[in-house]
Symmetry: C2
Subunit: 157 residues, 2 copies
Amino acid sequence: MTKVEYNLDQVDYKILRLMQDNGRINNADIARELGMAPSAILERVKKLEQKDVILKYSAKINPAAVDQKLLSFIFIKANDIIGEQRVGLALAEIPEVQEVHDIAGDDGYLIKVRTSDSTGLVDLMRNTLSKVEGIISTRTTIVLQTVKEDQQVVIPE
Amino acid sequence: MTKVEYNLDQVDYKILRLMQDNGRINNADIARELGMAPSAILERVKKLEQKDVILKYSAKINPAAVDQKLLSFIFIKANDIIGEQRVGLALAEIPEVQEVHDIAGDDGYLIKVRTSDSTGLVDLMRNTLSKVEGIISTRTTIVLQTVKEDQQVVIPE
DNA sequence: CAGTGAACAGAATAATATTCATAATTAATA
DNA sequence: TATTAATTATGAATATTATTCTGTTCACTG
């Protein structure tokens, strides 16, 4: 049980808002925005990283540009023991699988998968998913069009 | 119809891999990694941004740190006309809604929502979702635990 | 009310970003 | 295939940021 206290204040929230919106914003700009010294911002940001408030920085890449045009969600029923998650972890190892969620109700997982096209999806299911021990059944939902897709979180205050 | 040619080569792919993994990596480091001059990397990166291969940079924030501990997926049946997407766009405006996908089959949407807890979810559905015109029905799936969640895309070669 | 620690400012230094002129490479074509 | 044009890279110079460090303030505590 790792109970963590984050203890964030207004300034932290403002920094997070700026960095969530632009992961490459520099300390100088944040400092200007908040009317503080860049060195102070640097300290804050480092602390936010250490406290695991900021988990990672990443460049969002256009899936179409790297030929990953098909997005699908797959519900997977598994025979995992409660609490354990052998299947979930195995699914998480697959590069095309962007998300693995343990969901309530169906003793199963919901995963998000990106492939080049429907052929790629079929291949993935045949060659990779089928190799995962403990999968009982799957139900696939194809995405026709994505209206919004980000990881932006609502920041308080 | 905006048909785009991305025309990426090995070097671009390597850059994308590095930047997807670390959105704050600097040109100097990329240059060292690839055995090129930093100025050349800068040019490449700028081109990747202009071509919309790199869509955005962002800091991934720990949802728990900002009290957004509950993740849910909601299937939404709507009476949108095919091709149009009034409902989808309205859903996309809601800050708690991170994703809106137009899905095949059910003439509906699949959305991903983050709230503080189940109370927050209920509030959102009562106060915000219910205000969206054209929603026929919803079916909610609660996430108990997330095993993996990123936007990393498989980069060729 | 001295002592301690956290947070910030400001100055100095180190590192990186950016610009630009030139060279190398590649592609196009006569 | 030689020649030109266009693209891409280099390397040096400069601008901007990151980072370090010292000193100050302020809140808290014994």
